[in-house]
Symmetry: C2
Subunit: 299 residues, 2 copies
DNA sequence: AATTTGAATTTCAGAAATGAAAAACCTTCG
DNA sequence: CGAAGGTTTTTCATTTCTGAAATTCAAATT
C-alpha cells in the first residue's frame, strides 16, 4: 500500500461534495477519468470502500462519510493557505454571515462597518443556516448564542426582542390571522415559535423572511419579526407586546486564530459599536413617536 | 498559476522539517530531484520564495516559516486520517507524553494504566519538551498547567512538591554543594530554579534528570527532585524542606476531539485514579518510616 | 592546498498519469 | 417501448512526472 497522498484527499472532498465524478472534474479542472482513477487509488490506499458507484453518480459509504468528516478539518487548514497566497497585496476578504434581518440591518449601515479606504473587503453571507466557522467557511458570524467549543471566540453585543407586526392600514388588527414561515423551512427559533402556539390561526406561509414581510405589508395578516426590523418599517406597526419567549442575546462569533488579525479585529469592533449604538432598537424599546395598537396579550 | 496541490504541501512540510531535499526524499520515499522539482513548483504556485537554497541544504525564508505554520495545522488534520486507515482492526495507539520522573512513575505502574487485554496500546514519549497536542503530536500530555486555548481539554490530578535530596550515606549533608541541570538544557521550572538562587554553590551539572540522580546517588552533592521521585528512592533522603517556590499542580491535557474516544477516556480515567491514589506522595507528605535530615531552611 | 564528503542539480530514458474520444450504462421522459 | 440525456468507464496516444546516474558545487578535513 502506497502512502496516502494528500492530493487524493483534496479530490475526494470535491467528489463527495458534488456527488459525482463529472462535477468534481469541472470544479478541479481535471478530466472525469482522472478523478475516477484517483478515487480508485484512494480506496486502494485506505483499504476501504468509500463510494457506492452508480451510473448516476458517486454516493458515500459509511467509511466515506467518516473520511469526509476528517478531510473537512484538513480543508479548514488549507483555506488559510489559499488566502495567504491570493492575499498578496490585495485586501483580504472578511466573510460575514448573518440571518436575513441582521444582514439587512448591516447592509443598510454599511458605511459604519466598511469604507472604500478600509484595508479589507466584505463578503456578506445571508442565510439562516449556521455556517461552520471552525471549518473556516466564514470569518465572522452573527449568532444568537455564544460559541461553546471548537476553538471559537464570542463577543456579546445586544439583547434582541421579537414582536408581532401588522400593516398600519389593516382594517381590523385585532382579528387578524397569522402569516408564518413554512415549517419545513423554519430554522430560527422565532420561525418555529408560531407552530408551537396551539391557538394561533395561520392564514399564509412564506419560505423566506422577506416574503413574510411582503405578505404582512400587503395586509395578509400579522407576522413575527425582530423588533429592529419591524420597528424600522414605516408601513408596519406592532400587533401586540414583546414576545418574551423569544427574547435572546446576540453574539459575534469568530475563529480564535482570526481574532487578532487586525482587519478582523477592526470589523468586529465596528460591528460591536454599531449594534450597541442601537441597543434600544434591538431590545424592542418603543421607537419615538411610533403608533401602534393598544397592548394586550397575544393569541 | 496552477491551483495549489496538497501533495506539495505535504512534501514541503518534510523538507522544512529535515532541512533539505535528501532527508525529505528518504522520509517520503521519493528521489531528491523530484522533491526539488516539487518545491520549485510550490514556489511557483504560491508566488513566493520559500527557501534559501544552498549546497548544504534548504533553509526556510520568512514566507516559508509562515507557510510551515499553516501547513502544520493541515498535518494535524491529516494525522487522524492516517490513524483511521492503519487502525483497521488493530488496537489504536495512545501517545502519552510526560517529563522524566512522571514517565518513570507511570512506567513503574504500567499495570495500573494498561494490561495486555486492553483495547489500546501505549506509546511513551518521555521528554521535558512540550509536545504539541493541538497539532496531534500526542494524545495525552501530563503537564504542570492546564491548557488555555487551541481546542484542548484539561483534567486536574494532584499537587506536586519539590525538595532537595542527598544520598543517605553522605558524610556531611549540611555542607554539601548542589548538583544542577545544565542551564542550557534547563527546561522545567525546577531545573531553572537553582540558577536563580544566588547563594547556591553548584559543584556539578548534568544534562538529564537521570544523570542528576546518579550524581546525587554517588554522593556528588544534593539535587532538586520532585518528591514523588526522591521519596521513592531508598538510597536518597531529603536534604531540606519542601521548596515552596516550586509547588505546582499537575494536569492531564488532551485534544478536545479525543476526549470522548473510548480508549482515550479509559486511559485518562486510569491515569487520574493512579495519580490521585498517590496524592500524598506527590504533594510531598513524608513517606512512612523514611529517615531524613533535620529540617532547616535551605541555602 | 588538495582531498573528501555530503549535499543540490542536471540529464535523459523510462514509467506513470492524463485527457479526448468512444463506449457502455442507467434513468428519465415522451 | 424507444429515444434522449447524463454519467461512468474504457481505450489509447500524449504529456508529464520520476528516478538513476552523472555532474556540480561548497564546506570540512587532511
Amino acid at each position: 500500500m502506497k502512502n496516502l497522498r494528500w492530493d487524493d484527499l483534496q479530490v475526494f472532498a470535491r467528489v463527495a461534495q458534488s456527488g459525482g465524478l463529472s462535477g468534481a472534474a469541472d470544479a478541479l479542472d481535471m478530466s472525469a477519468p482522472t478523478v475516477g482513477r484517483r478515487m480508485l487509488a484512494l480506496e486502494q490506499a485506505t483499504g476501504k470502500s468509500l463510494f457506492v458507484r452508480s451510473r448516476t453518480g458517486y454516493e458515500l459509504t459509511d467509511d466515506g462519510r467518516a473520511l469526509l468528516r476528517k478531510v473537512r478539518t484538513m480543508e479548514a487548514g488549507a483555506r488559510p493557505i489559499e488566502e495567504w497566497i491570493s492575499a498578496d497585496g490585495e485586501r483580504p476578504i472578511i466573510r460575514l454571515s448573518a440571518g436575513t434581518w441582521t444582514a439587512n440591518f448591516m447592509a443598510e449601515n454599511i458605511p459604519r462597518i466598511w469604507t472604500p479606504d478600509d484595508p479589507y473587503r466584505i463578503c456578506f453571507k445571508t442565510t439562516e443556516a449556521r455556517l461552520d466557522i471552525s471549518h473556516r467557511e466564514i470569518e465572522i458570524g452573527v449568532r444568537n448564542r455564544p460559541a461553546e467549543s471548537g476553538n471559537l471566540a464570542s463577543r456579546r453585543t445586544v439583547d434582541l426582542g421579537f414582536a408581532p407586526y401588522i400593516v398600519r392600514s389593516h382594517p381590523n388588527p385585532r382579528e387578524s390571522e397569522w402569516v408564518a414561515i413554512d415549517p419545513d423551512e423554519a430554522i430560527t427559533r422565532s420561525a418555529r415559535w408560531l407552530s408551537a402556539q396551539d391557538s394561533a390561526s395561520v392564514c399564509a406561509w412564506a419560505n423566506t423572511p422577506y416574503t413574510l414581510r411582503d405578505l404582512v405589508r400587503a395586509g395578509a395578516g400579522k407576522g413575527v419579526m425582530p423588533c429592529f426590523a419591524g420597528d424600522r418599517d414605516p408601513r408596519l406597526m406592532r400587533a401586540g407586546p414583546l414576545i418574551t419567549d423569544l427574547a435572546e442575546t446576540q453574539y459575534l462569533v469568530m475563529h480564535n486564530d482570526d481574532r487578532h488579525r487586525p482587519e478582523v479585529r477592526l470589523a468586529i469592533d465596528r460591528l460591536h459599536t454599531l449594534f450597541r449604538d442601537h441597543a434600544a432598537l434591538f431590545r424592542g424599546d418603543r421607537p419615538i413617536g411610533s403608533s401602534e395598537m393598544a397592548e394586550e396579550p397575544i393569541a
